[in-house]
């Protein structure tokens, strides 16, 4: 019993060969130095492995657009050209409108050239078609005195969306105010993009600039286009989607004031630039009215818009004991990995490699064990024999096999 406990409280450590050779000694220390450098420089300093991280940022974005434009002789304000209206992280600024006023339910001729017809037989095959401006009745009716198109049932008159109209150029000077609050829930750290040093006065005259005014939360639409390497005129004409990214990469071991937003800009619908199939971004919506006698009519609007997506991402780190310990242990044990390389050199390429091999490897073969088993109690003698043998017979185990030892 006592013996058992004594046997349990023992300590096993590997027997080591210390090679006093300048060549391999220097290689060994250099490799160890490289590994330590890797851990200190990359793992600890660059990757900050001593920190716990939080990327599950909680964020709230409010936006407010300002500016006035003239379109079709009317002055448009925010309530007219921003959709949806509630100032969330995704919003569209309408830059071009094709307006079809006073549509009522009824029957009327199609407007698209492809629906041109001579008689009803030209129209029947369109009846299942989901395109156009309404349900095809299959009849061919006069669009004007000289031109006939297939008739539709639906909101009439049908929209003519091939009209060339100019975009609202004033949109270039509109400003977008972004208010962004963030929270890293793991650290209960809260901050916002209205930094404490931003005064009311500064806010009234600043515009974001990537060098001069990097913390100004007001963005001129034209500037945003420029920062995203886009041409305002093209986007205003065809529509598109612009991403405004706010990055909160914070080292919370430093003081709060070093945790600041970083703005970047990119075009999100890059596909629209290249593809001829479906360029830009537009959508249709309607305003509904009623006549005195209760008949509903509407104004259909086809809007070309620049959509803005405010995207917030965050990555905060703070010192924590557990990852520090784990990574320090990993670093310490990894220093030993260098022996894999050094062993290969020592046992294969160094002068006297065979002698080193003889020192490193003791050999024991099945035959020796078998021969010693019958006189099992006579350990001393059999071991003596063994030790003589292994000294005589040099191990030929090649270093290459030792990889991953």
């Amino acid at each position: 019993m006592m013996n058992c406990i004594t046997d349990f409280f023992t300590y096993e450590t590997t027997k080591s060969v210390v090679v006093k050779s300048w060549t391999i000694g220097i290689i060994n220390r250099v490799v160890q130095l490289l590994i330590i450098t890797y851990f200190i420089g990359w793992v600890f300093y660059h990757e900050k492995a001593y920190q716990v991280r939080d990327t599950a940022i909680e964020s709230s974005v409010m936006t407010k657009v300002k500016g006035f434009g003239v379109y079709n002789g009317k002055v448009m304000d925010v309530a007219d050209y921003v959709i949806p209206t509630q100032g969330a992280s995704v919003f569209c600024i309408i830059t071009k409108l094709i307006t079809t006023e006073n549509q009522m339910q009824g029957y009327c001729p199609e407007t698209e050239p492809k629906f041109g017809c001579k008689d009803d037989s030209d129209c029947t095959h369109w009846m299942q078609n989901t395109g156009g401006n309404g349900m095809k009745t299959g009849r061919c009716v006069g669009f004007n005195s000289s031109y006939r198109t297939c008739e539709i049932r639906g909101w009439c008159p049908a929209e003519i969306d091939t009209i060339k109209t100019e975009p609202m150029r004033e949109a270039e000077n509109f400003t977008i105010f972004i208010k962004n609050s963030i929270r890293f829930p793991r650290f209960n750290f809260t901050k916002g993009n209205l930094l404490p040093n931003i005064t009311n006065k500064y806010m009234h005259k600043c515009n974001f600039h990537p060098e001069r005014d990097i913390y100004c939360p007001i963005f001129r639409v034209g500037d945003v286009m420029k920062f995203a390497h886009q041409d305002f005129d093209t986007l205003a004409k065809d529509g598109g989607v612009i991403g405004i990214k706010i990055g909160w990469v914070c080292n919370l071991d430093m003081s709060d004031e070093h945790c600041n937003p970083k703005y970047s800009f990119t075009r999100l619908d890059s596909i629209s630039e290249k593809s001829k199939v479906s360029p830009g971004y537009n959508f249709r919506y309607a305003k509904y009215f009623k006549t005195n006698n209760g008949t509903e009519y509407r104004t259909l609007l086809k809007a070309y818009a620049i959509r803005f997506d405010v995207m917030v991402y965050g990555d905060a780190g703070k010192f924590d004991m557990i990852p520090t310990l784990i990574n320090m242990v990993a670093a310490f044990t990894s220093v030993g990995v260098g022996t894999v390389l050094c062993d290969i050199i020592l046992l294969n390429f160094l002068k006297g490699a065979d002698q080193y091999k003889a020192k490193k490897f003791e050999e024991v073969s099945e035959q020796q064990i078998k021969s010693s088993v019958p006189n099992g109690n006579d350990h001393y003698r059999s071991n003596q024999t063994l030790s003589l043998k292994y000294d005589e017979k040099q191990s030929t185990d090649s270093g290459a096999f030792s990889i991953g030892l």
Copy 2:
């Protein structure tokens, strides 16, 4: 001093016992082979551990619905049945409407049966209730000549939402066009779901099909229901939420054209299928009008809709030196893990295990050390004694303790 430096530039390597036994040799190599296979097959080939990954995909989704339906004798187009209108990644197609026209502020009787009453005392307890169609006044008034209900103040007449109406069946044939641009910011890789080989002509006649037309970006509503294993009629009647997932799982070590979207479909509000408490999806909204004398009135709409959520996820990998090196080192060092298993076999289950133990373990006890301390300089002699001793006294350290050596 020089001595110190010499002592520093040494190399320590473990002394090893090479067991020349077929049994354990084969086990050893098989275990090593398994570990290597695991690393090559799983870690490197399957998990692509030689790549850096980017899952923080930047994505922009535009959607456009097409099709016409007839509802309540009116032709409905996109501007009527899609909400919100701006063609973003989340949109609803209204399939059923309960319309209450010409509501004005005033007093009127409730419509729900539970508000039925005999006299005012039946109505007072409802006054704090948030249900129904307006603020309860606590009075009992005549709904019609034979039936009395509690009076409300609010938009009158109150909505009767128990009316049975048929959904708009044409919605099954509506098509959804999805334009999706993505970007993997880490690799600055941009692509869209309008693949370069998709022509305008193909787009005008194709419909997505999971086998035939896997890259067609146009989806028939009825097909989407089928792919999500849902019944269109049930959804059109009660409303629901369908997820259209676009997956971009890309190996960027291969050429661009292998990075393609994968569409999948699922019902997101699965809870609505089972729960009787709140089936389906509906919401109320209003259109506001004004009479000639400036009084506001509205049309209240209770809309049953199918909501579509276009969800984009991405996972791209590209070869990178750092993870490759780290994982190769991990692989090399892990080959050594096999010794844990082999040691257990060698020292416990193999014939001649005791001899192997004797070869592997040298024993040194506190007593020996103590006895040798007084004549500390006479190392040779004391070691001699030790070596005799440990050869005589075979280590009884069991292999089980060696786990994790």
Copy 3:
């Protein structure tokens, strides 16, 4: 050839020194126990390393607000005060409105005091300004008989947004019903927040309470404010953003009924509380009307609202063979890490450290190897010499260097 194969099927294991010392034995076993405890307690029990995890939750949120409020003498219902209307995961409850009725396109004086003027020269510098209520014409016109302001072109009359109005206090009693379905795609596990034991009857009278009714999916607005540690009156007056988080942290090794939602509440726009620059949350929208003769006019609404963001996160784990195996191997091999510490103690701080060093380290120097190379075949003799030598010359390698051995 055969020799080669025989040489290949060998097994290499480290030669170990077993130290039979109570001190180091106990230290060794305690360190090993700590490591095992760490792995069992932290890695396996706490971090559940035996599970594969899925955090890419698929979720669908539907919301429905109920309640009636009186504002400006009108009863407001859901269709009036909730925006956007479609009951998605983000919605605003309007609590205060500044209404400007009957705006038409035209010319009129500004309303903001800063645009006060004596003559046109006071107005010209405002012409490029994007603020105010319309495009500045540069003229100074009479606001009333005693007061003159710069003229604008746009929607007239201009909004006066400094009017003090009371928020709609009834909003405190509004209820929000949240229906949330989730799915963990990796495990194809589906659940919803309408738990199976929730009856229709319970739903009609329950309100969420963090202790009594933790699974009731109906939330009183006033309660939500309280749970988020906010004052309803302040938020109703200025507007704000409240986050309702639904967490699904599930151990899918247990039965389904243990996977339940956890609700938490937080104010998301914490920045608005502190900053005086831009407090609260408001936005403008318009309702459009037409006169009999077709002229468009509108009602402009500046809405102060409480925005609710329902955010769903999930983290599910389920037993899986691969992570279990990997982590068990990691645990087993990590037990060996304790030797690093024990070696330092053994070789430096223990009584008889020098003797232990002598046992652990065999020394071989370049000189010895060189001297033995000429008579390279006489291995036995040279090794004999070596062994004599290393026994005589005690290794002075310090334990500190052994770190990471």
